[in-house]
Subunit: 345 residues, 2 copies
Amino acid sequence: MAIEIKGDSVTLSKECFEEQDFSYYGRLKGDVLELSLVEAAFLIERERLDLGITLKEFFKVASTIQPYLDLKYVVYKDLRERGYYVKPSVTDFRLYPRGGRPGEGPASAYVYVLSERISVPFMELVEKVKLAQNVRKKMLLAVVDGESDLTFYTAKTANMQGKMPPLGLDFSEADATLLDDRVVIWDEHDAVQLYRAGFYGKLVDGKMLQLSLLECAYLMQLGLPVEDGATNRRFTTLQFIRRAEAIEPEFAMKLDVYKDLKDRGFVVKTGFKFGSHFRAYEQIEDVDRIPHSKYLVHALPKDFIVMLPEMSRAIRLAHGVRKRMIFAYKGKKALEYLDIGRAKP
Amino acid sequence: MAIEIKGDSVTLSKECFEEQDFSYYGRLKGDVLELSLVEAAFLIERERLDLGITLKEFFKVASTIQPYLDLKYVVYKDLRERGYYVKPSVTDFRLYPRGGRPGEGPASAYVYVLSERISVPFMELVEKVKLAQNVRKKMLLAVVDGESDLTFYTAKTANMQGKMPPLGLDFSEADATLLDDRVVIWDEHDAVQLYRAGFYGKLVDGKMLQLSLLECAYLMQLGLPVEDGATNRRFTTLQFIRRAEAIEPEFAMKLDVYKDLKDRGFVVKTGFKFGSHFRAYEQIEDVDRIPHSKYLVHALPKDFIVMLPEMSRAIRLAHGVRKRMIFAYKGKKALEYLDIGRAKP
């Protein structure tokens, strides 16, 4: 037979594929052209390939060979119809830049097809992004939702860099008290100074400063003395962190990221209103004119499993308020950051 | 002593509170005025009440008596400074309408103070909302984040009502196949008819319809026959639902809500892009002119624990795309809906 389904491809003998122009489809193996099942489905649908069976029959057979063929088909078709050349690849597809063609220049991105319903270990995603970046390609995530609608995301590692100078203040004499789940700095001078220097805490009545537990733990490491409002005894930093861990889930993980971002020169505030751990400002020169915060940062544990609807929500939200959504995670040596944003290929 | 901290109030003897105008603060018990600790803190800070101790000292003592006094203080102060009269109440505060005063008319809302960090059983929230509504008051949630910033939400039960007529189509002869995690309707006439009549599925190439598992399970109950692409055998509805449950977490819960919304006359599509289970349209008359979907609907299990950062994110997102955020849950008799939105008191 001149055309047949063989393993996970459709093979065409020479006389068969030379009848038609199949350039940029499949790959030549000697005298035989091997089309992937997705390519074959696309060509059948376009009535350019005839296997003697209907598209429905082909899909039924091919779906038993390749899981999620229908998802891949939806993505492949979408990209082709936007005028891109697409070739099968290890991470689903290689995408050629607009105007580029297979064989005439390198692909610009890898496309990774995901179903809304299938969760992915976060570190697997990170590995794929790094692999793509190692060969200087972008990583495009194509997420297919329950109704076969597509959303594209780009994922890339982020080298986070803020512009704030180190906090050059001495507050070793400050008077700070933990009340329930926040810390109050009572002295007006200290309160105002700390607020103005680094946008720490919230200034109440212009004279009292309420610090978050994270801000306080960080400042304690720079010398801020803090006492327990219930006992009037001074905390060691470790005691304070233990207490904060009891109050706030994920405190230790968040503190790591908070400190790292501070070390990188960011002003870091809670991202609560945006449903993330932090919002990060590259620089605040004057607390009376707070600029737009560029990033939302969410800390993830190393074994985090990405639920795509959740990720979609976070990114959509960040996008809506014109911020980049950054996921922080522990790399092999240090904290690393992954920037995921909506994309239109 | 004329002024003293007694139980969870600050009591003032007659000669003491008559010196100053404390109208609308506290409540009279015989000859004694009882101020709540929050009211007392507010008056101390305003230098209208003198207990002979500083605000700091008062806070330290009062915090050991009333948990989260500082949270409640932040909310009380904020509302007072916006010009509202606020009185202590079972659910934290009663709020009087703009221009209204205690004793001169009813309160308009209950205010429930929450910390970003403390999770709340969803059904507890529902109970509070219903209690408030029973006495014709609004329920205002005041959420204090880690940096003492406030976000207000209104929560109310929603009587969801769409305008779509029942689907009057016979598709008992249709040809539908489950492939992996979606269902394809192959016949062009059936596909187009179903798509146009109720915005079901996604029309591929104008001739094939891809249905989501939910849409398919619903349509099966209206008579759609569906076969398994792997075996060519026809599913019973129950078999299909079991299969779908294996593919999609929460399928059963989502199907209940999907069906209920359909019965209420909505067009229901996935809310994936918005991080919710569904988006719901009151009416679609013409699929070529899809209107704005008014609601995002998220189904919650009965024992759901609200994590406020998560809830905040969902509502913020809905708000950003000008939709109402609706949470669906099983009430005592039927499905019920809670509408939570951002509020500016």
